[in-house]
Symmetry: C2
Subunit: 194 residues, 2 copies
Amino acid sequence: MMTDLEKQIQFIMELDKIKHIIRRNYLADGSRRENDAEHSWHLAVMAMVLAEHANQKMDVLRTIKMLLIHDVVEIDAGDTYAYDANGHKDKREREVKAAERIFCLLPGEQAIEFRKLWDEFEEMETAEAKFANALDKIHPFLLNAASNGRSWKEHGIKKSQVIKINERTHEGSEALWQYIKEQIDLQTANGNLQ
Amino acid sequence: MMTDLEKQIQFIMELDKIKHIIRRNYLADGSRRENDAEHSWHLAVMAMVLAEHANQKMDVLRTIKMLLIHDVVEIDAGDTYAYDANGHKDKREREVKAAERIFCLLPGEQAIEFRKLWDEFEEMETAEAKFANALDKIHPFLLNAASNGRSWKEHGIKKSQVIKINERTHEGSEALWQYIKEQIDLQTANGNLQ
């Protein structure tokens, strides 16, 4: 029989694998692609820095918790590229199965708490989840812009696709949506985006 | 003149550099060394999972915020290995200078807030800072243990040194200190630690 602490440590060590899940976007300097742990850290910092721009008053701790764990399902399910229509067909199914395995490593009540946070992020209904999802889309945009559109160019991504991916950003933050719209125009004008 | 939002985005993009700061310890599978962004993400998750084991009731949001930004000074100051006595001589001076530059990228009041969080972590006086510092020491221990002591072996680290590094863990969490003590004995018994 494992103690609760042993179960918690097992969960923490299992999550180390997220450092091997490689995303499509590059770091700001374009030197290499980013992994899920780095992405999740950066999102949590963004929530800390940008919380005042949320449309609605929110619980910043819950927003950060969601962001810290929103991608752990990719340990089993892999990263599905935002512009991969085919990969999105069974994404939900693969990720739910992963959530069931991974969060259940935790002691009973905590497993439920973590699963609820993941569900909340996915459902995108609360103020916290809307803001967290807005950051999750803005973050690769900022890194793509900083790295001269390297990932956009590699995959032939068009301005209309970037607008579509970010179309719900305004639900989390009107201020960030206005900022991103201007940046999309700039990135189109300078040729990083088709 | 930059708007507050532009300053915040500039700070967020500057922090991307932390993904290039390489630590001494390896990932759990021993495949490569860890960077500061991955370490900071893992610590924030640990705070989320292990908060109940803190000696004193604490504000988990403040603990997580401290952990998310505690290493950003290493962008300028570099990572100082825990067992490098020489590197520790001017560590404080190098890091304070870095804190002054990096946090001042933020708008005025927020720059002060972030600097205070960093100072709080460093001073290790509050319940939040004591717990955060305990996690900061336990984390590389767990990864070293998982990777068969690879980093300890490379640097000829002894049991007594690991005990010394973790000696203040009990101030943040008696429960975690008991656990780590047992694990140090195990790692010595199996030869990973001299």
